[in-house]
Symmetry: C2
Subunit: 371 residues, 2 copies
């Protein structure tokens, strides 16, 4: 099983048992998190970051771990999320394999990894678990909850389940519900893993690992995380040097874009647990704010009470398309928030928030400065 | 091996040997085709249809086969492609498995299927083979060559390799070169097939068939053939009745969109030969009109001489995006053609030309009427 926990990670125990929305419960579970900056005396300068599917809690370098984090350009002293002013918490998602309890963690009842005995995971379970971390730090009310991608869903669930728990919300390339194109992509990723004979209904080990299924799942993910426009400029039709191609396979890599996907697959396949990938992906498919609005997603969003919100995304995102960030803004505004919607022209697709720090940082920094 | 040939299919022998662009040759190869309408005495009313990756030559019902074809709404007496006026030929692509010689066909030198001994297939080989069919019917010059999707590439190759062979050209959701997003998708489809242990370097049989790889490849294809916008309206978040779900698999189908993909996969997996799929997909990745313009795709297009052309496509196509049809129009216009570019608002994505007959038929019918 693949659990990789960065150095300096901190942990918070979840209540035991910790019951899940769809049934089942965890005993002795924990959440991994990291922090930056200092909590002020009034305890009103705390920001919570909820991540996409795969990141750990190491969003940026800090005293416990000087390695650059996955949002290094965004978070730190003087940066858009300014740790001179804010006390920032980032949690590893419940159900992940980067320190928080997930399908790859040991089930204390059996001494073996949960694998498919892990309960059905909902976005809402992750939101409740994140709230436990925040409360464990003595924080009653966040200044802002920031959610990226899947974390944008988790943030909305956090606000729905814990009214008054945050003054403000930043939704970064997130959505209030999964739509069929993204469900189809994630379903296909799961099918690729499940069809790998080495998946073996979740009972793989390092020697018999669903490597092929994970390769396909990851490459499909990367295809949908970026954009055709970016790739036209970045790769065009550039081919690999002949010595970089494997001549043993007549259908092997020939184009730069194929090598790019291969590199992403090789870095990911063994670093993220396949069962955790299945659980987290499905939790996104299930998520729907309409459940909180009598079947109406806008009513569900309008039931959320925050003072201010920022919804931000890009035109080239095919996985969480821009109209979904606009919907979040419209819904929160209908609920009384001063809600901003900021569409950006970044060419990098869904992943733009990770790489176009210039544009995203400017929008997020300006919002936080006015908070 | 999967060769399925519709009743009423006609055949034309290719010259033997028939040499391929990238080396290798076929002996005793043939092309499958069907026709509609009558060739006039001047032999100047012939239209050639070149298909996308998977269709056979049965574009519409005819005397030899009354079953509806894959373009039934478009082709027939009084329809947009009016067989009262035009003599229409549709060929099954060289390298396919629907009657024309491909990797699933028997190699006369061995008495066994070619499998991976089939030569490296280029779009240009398919164009030259289609030209043999046209000449075998006594036609010197087509009134129009129509190419859909991959067939749009084949049509451009046909015009490049056989100057003066057609008065006009209709490019339907095609392109002058493969771009990295579509290369990535097709590369991933091929990888899913190649990673299936039953593919066995092309040496599968009906009992040991790369069914799982083909499932993933087909579903990925369907995801990119349609559009998120269409699916939002068509499927939304509708879930399957619980009795339609397989409870034995905790990660099985739950949403209508998943059942839709499953249906497409089941219809396709055993009806298209996996090796042929690999060859045809790669031929698209390789195709680049820039080769005919000293590295400049516009110069390559401008070297094509046709009197009139129509480039048509839809805003929602992510596989052959609309700017590629615009590029074809711009390039042919630079070469002296009266070139029209008609963008359509169809929501169905790349597949729109197969289903939005109302819009596509109107544009194609109007163009042909003025021809």
């Amino acid at each position: 099983m693949t659990e990789t926990i960065p150095p300096g990670t901190r942990f918070a125990a979840l209540p035991s048992p910790f019951a899940f929305k769809r049934g089942g419960e965890l005993h002795g579970a924990r959440m991994a998190y990291e922090t930056w900056g200092d909590l002020n005396a009034a305890r009103d300068n705390a920001l919570l970051i909820l991540t996409g599917l795969s990141p750990n809690a190491h969003a940026a370098s800090n005293a416990g771990n000087p390695d650059p984090g996955w949002w290094e350009g965004m978070l730190g002293p003087g940066k858009a999320i300014d740790t001179n002013r804010w006390f920032v918490i980032c949690v590893n998602s419940l159900g992940s394999c980067k320190g928080s309890t997930g399908a790859a963690s040991v089930n204390p009842a059996t001494g073996e990894p949960y694998r498919l005995d892990f309960p059905d995971l909902s976005i809402e379970d992750g939101a409740r678990a994140a709230h436990v971390v925040v409360r464990s730090l003595g924080i009653e009310r966040l200044a802002c909850v920031i959610g990226n991608s899947m974390g944008g869903m988790t943030a909305l669930a956090y606000l729905l389940l814990h009214p008054g728990s945050a003054r403000a919300h930043i939704n970064v390339s997130g959505s209030a519900q999964a739509l069929p194109f993204s469900i189809a992509i994630r379903s296909l990723q799961r099918e690729a893993i499940r069809l790998d004979p080495n998946w073996n209904h979740g009972r793989y080990d390092d020697a018999h690992y669903p490597e092929n299924g994970m390769r396909i799942a990851r490459k499909l993910g990367v295809v949908t995380y970026r954009s055709a426009m970016e790739w036209d400029g970045r790769f065009g039709r550039v081919k690999l040097d002949s010595e970089m191609r494997g001549d043993e396979d007549p259908f092997g890599q020939e184009f730069e874009v194929e090598r790019y996907l291969e590199g992403h697959a090789q870095r990911f396949v063994r670093s993220f647990d396949p069962n955790c990938y299945l659980y987290l992906g499905r939790s996104m498919d299930w998520f729907d704010v309409a459940e909180y609005g009598g079947g109406d997603v806008m009513k569900g969003l309008a039931s959320i009470k925050v003072e201010r919100s920022l919804s931000i995304g890009v035109h080239t995102d095919i996985l969480f398309p821009l109209q979904q960030q606009e919907q979040v803004a419209d819904g929160l505004r209908a609920g009384g928030a001063e809600a901003e919607f900021v569409p950006l022209p970044s060419p990098q697709g869904h992943d733009a928030f990770l790489v176009d720090i210039e544009r995203f940082g400017a929008a997020i920094g300006a919002f936080l400065q006015r908070l």
